[in-house]
């Protein structure tokens, strides 16, 4: 039979996999033609807008830094070293997560494992795919920066070509490290143990950052008379980015030396990168097949690592014995006696699903956690924040940052809620509660949870800026209105543009409605913060008319983008057909 009639001259399995997946990617790209023109236009506009805006900002920033006599070059260099060092870490995490998903939670991988494709070939393909998926955003992020750097430093044309080569070599290294880490973490850690370790590591990093990032006490006299000494002290904490064994150091040095015309030195760093890529690439392409198979088999075979511990088993047995009792969420919601029981049931389900989906609360925690750390650190700027101009500016920027974070989360998690419910419509949709109430319950829950976080952060910001109570109240009202609007927009558009074909929320978000929601949210935030800042009651150049018109403008905008989509969405649901 088959095994006895094999033929030579056919492409290798890796070549076949690359070919078939490239064909798939090409057809996906071509299918953009069938999508809504508005969506394609919006996406195109966002890409061009981002590239232009970031290029302009980088260009202005680098030119500004260059004007510092004697320090411009040093500061620019240090910024590049820092940027590439942080991007290396980000790429490593990105590769780790994407490799893990691609190797162990992917249906194509399982399919290929049942075919006569060597495990090495499967691993090689998945490695290449993960590296591409994890790195394209990095290239998109740094392209405007390098273009701006090239223009400000008047580099020759071949600088851009060489930079592409250096970056192509560089992105390979975190991809290798990420895939190796993913295979070994999968082999030795189960999901829960990994989550706990990740949380502990994040907490440890946070604590060490708080201790490490202490402000440098600098007097006005030192700032005027001993600039170089002060600068050297300030830059000491960024020296880690110039550790010579970091791949980001080789990239930064290669780029900087090529820009300066030191081609031999730049060539040396390119060769350092190349030799590491060849060495680790060879190991990855020849030694990881069996490691991958062992890990894949372990992932599918494991019980919980924690179940080896007595306390965990006891806790699990106790929870099992309580299976028929109401859980803590349900018990807490039962105290809200004014809510109908079916609404409480819906809320309980949504809270449980949120809590059990690590991605949801993990990303929420990271986004708002970072913002919280930033706001707490405002205390270190006590000297600068005595100036009313800076205080005013920072308070409005904080309002904007808080809302932008919220917009990311409402688009990512609140918008797809109704579409995801569509898969469960056989139970929820047919229950005697009606779809409008289902959506209203989702709006209430999302808004309530968001308000707790956004108002908390704004209070913290006002407290750190030592603002009087009337200003705190003003910002609280502003952020509350924005929270209502952003949630209303996400829930309303989610009901207007449902997608019941997809199980994956990120794919639902990437459709027309999700993109539209994100763009509208960002436009709303920029317009609102601008209106509020122009109409600020604490601005000295303010007229009463201007203040009233700006406040009314903000109110109208909030109603138009929050209440209106929700209202139209709810009306559509009355006549909804699946």
């Amino acid at each position: 039979m088959s095994a006895h009639s094999q033929t030579s001259g056919l492409p290798t399995p890796l070549a076949l996999l690359i070919k078939v997946n490239a064909l798939q990617a090409w057809r996906r790209l071509k299918s953009v033609r069938d999508q809504s023109r508005l969506l394609t236009g919006l996406i195109g506009l966002s890409i061009v807008g981002y590239a232009s805006l970031s290029f302009w900002l980088f260009y202005k920033g680098l030119r500004f830094i260059k004007t510092f006599p004697g320090l411009g070059t040093l500061l620019t260099e240090r910024l590049l070293f820092l940027l590439f060092a942080f991007l290396f870490v980000l790429l490593l995490f990105s590769n780790l997560i994407i490799s893990y998903t691609n190797l162990f939670r992917n249906r194509e991988t399982s399919f290929l494992m049942s075919l006569p494709v060597p495990f090495e070939a499967i691993f090689r393909w998945k490695f290449l795919e993960s590296a591409l998926l994890a790195s394209w955003a990095f290239l998109f992020l740094i392209a405007p920066l390098l273009a701006a750097y090239g223009l400000t430093h008047r580099v020759p044309w071949h600088f851009y070509l060489m930079t592409i080569v250096l970056i192509a070599l560089f992105v390979f290294l975190p991809a290798v490290a990420g895939s190796w880490l993913a295979a070994n973490l999968a082999r030795y850690m189960d999901r829960r143990a990994f989550q706990i370790t990740a949380l502990l590591l994040a907490a440890a990093s946070l604590v060490s950052a708080i201790f490490w990032l202490k402000p440098e006490p600098v007097t006005d006299e030192a700032l005027e008379t001993r600039v170089l000494v002060v600068l050297d002290r300030l830059l000491t904490k960024t020296r880690f980015a110039q550790y010579p064994l970091l791949p980001s150091y080789w990239l930064s040095s290669g780029v900087l030396h090529w820009a300066e015309g030191a081609l031999a030195t730049a060539g040396f760093f390119a060769l350092v990168l190349l030799s590491h890529v060849l060495f680790f690439g060879c190991l990855t392409f020849t030694r990881m097949g069996n490691v991958f198979y062992d890990a894949a088999s372990t992932v599918q075979s494991r019980g919980s690592v924690l179940s080896r511990w007595g306390w965990f088993r006891a806790w699990r047995n106790r929870t099992r014995s309580c299976n028929f009792a109401a859980g803590p969420v349900e018990s807490a919601l039962n105290k809200l006696f004014w809510l109908r029981s079916e609404t409480r049931a819906l809320l309980t389900k949504d809270i449980r699903l949120f809590w059990r989906d690590t991605t949801q609360w993990g990303q929420t925690l990271v986004l708002f956690g970072l913002l919280g750390v930033y706001i707490i650190n405002l205390r270190h700027f006590s000297h600068q924040l005595t100036n009313p101009f800076w205080m005013n500016l920072v308070s409005y920027l904080n309002l904007g940052a808080c809302s932008l974070n919220l917009a990311t989360l409402t688009t990512r998690f609140v918008y797809p809620q109704f579409s995801l419910e569509g898969k469960r419509l056989w139970i929820v949709g047919l229950a005697p509660i009606g779809l409008p109430r289902l959506v209203k319950a989702k709006f209430a829950l999302a808004t309530g949870a968001s308000l707790a976080v956004t108002i908390g952060l704004i209070w913290l910001s006002c407290y750190m800026l030592r603002m009087p109570w009337e200003r705190t109240l003003y910002f609280t009202c502003a952020v509350a209105a924005m929270t209502f609007t952003l949630n209303g927009l996400a829930v309303g558009l989610g009901a207007l543009y449902p997608n019941f074909k997809e199980d994956n929320p990120s794919k639902i978000v990437s459709g027309f409605g999700g993109t539209f929601c994100l763009v509208l949210s960002f436009l709303y935030i920029v317009s609102s913060v601008t209106l509020l800042a122009i109409g600020s009651p604490w601005s000295r150049r303010q007229t009463t008319d201007q203040m009233i018109s700006c406040t009314v403008g903000f109110g109208v905008l909030s109603l138009a983008l929050g209440w209106l989509p929700l209202k139209i969405g709810l009306r559509k649901l009355v006549k909804f057909e699946l």
């Binding site: 056919l10 399995p13 076949l16 057809r27 996906r28 075919l115 599918q300 075979s301 494991r302 019980g303």
Partner: protein
């Protein structure tokens, strides 16, 4: 030339069994999903595997397909140890899961070519094999359409055709009739039976007792990870002591086993 299976001492019994499960055990932490299964399926046999939900059927199949490693014991396909010589084993077998993966943006024809090339089939053989199968499965109208737009039943047919393309010696299929209309279910049954008569060993797991009764040369019943019965329909009826429909024999055997496993717990 000496076949590697003749030279390999652990593959000595390949002429007797195309699928050999020897003391096969699979544990997921505390849970033992497959508990010491011993089974030999000879060349050309059509074996149906029955069992209640979570009995260990799919886990057994995954170990035969080499998707997961056994905790202990051995699974061999066509005389090759699935763990020691995975490529040799997988060249000779085909596996169709209950929800098979297909590349959504490819057309069925492109998918067949891709699978055939992975099995190192030459163009002429691929064409002959595909043409015959697509005609029987009525796939001509869909050959140039993207898979993403096809119904569940059509996708299932595509998966079965792609698995049969390389004329496997061992065919392992999990719930083959899911999503198929009666006409195509008949086609699947006929093709599998024909191939089985020509020497292909079929190992299929199902909950449909009627299909097992109609198609299988032997029926194996797995319950709580153990192989509690294996034999022809008549042998199973005799073993259960219940004449008549296979359903009664199946229910009796699985309930007897459940009662037996509860005895030690009760004694403790």
């Amino acid at each position: 030339m000496l076949d590697r299976r003749d030279a390999c001492p652990i593959a000595r019994s390949w002429k007797e069994g195309m699928i050999e499960l020897i003391d096969l055990v699979k544990r997921f932490g505390d849970l033992t999903a497959v508990n010491g299964i011993n089974l030999v399926v000879p060349r050309g046999e059509f074996l149906a595997v029955l069992g209640p939900n979570a009995a260990g059927k799919t886990t057994t199949i995954k170990m035969i397909a080499g998707l997961i490693k056994p905790t202990s014991g051995t699974a061999r396909v066509a005389g090759f140890d699935v763990q020691m010589q995975p490529l040799e084993a997988r060249k000779r077998m085909a596996y169709v899961p209950d929800f098979p993966f297909l590349y959504d943006k490819l057309t069925p024809w492109e998918f067949f070519r891709f699978t055939g090339q992975l099995f190192r089939m030459d163009e002429a053989r691929l064409q002959t094999s595909v043409r015959d199968l697509i005609a029987r499965f009525n796939l001509e109208p869909y050959l140039a359409k993207p898979i993403e737009g096809l119904s569940h039943g059509t996708r299932q047919r595509i998966a079965i055709v792609s698995a049969l393309l390389h004329d496997p010696e061992v065919f392992v299929i999990d719930e083959p009739m899911v999503g198929l209309d009666p006409q195509h279910a008949r086609v699947v049954k006929d093709i599998l039976k024909e191939r089985s008569e020509r020497g292909m060993t079929v190992f299929f797991s199902t909950h449909q007792l009627s299909v097992a009764e109609e198609m299988a040369d032997r029926i194996a019943i797995i319950h709580q990870g153990r192989l509690i019965a294996v034999g022809t329909r008549d042998e199973l009826r005799r073993q259960s002591g219940v004449p008549g429909a296979l359903e009664k024999a199946f229910l009796t055997l699985t309930s007897q086993e459940a009662n037996l496993s509860e005895v030690p717990a009760a004694l403790q």
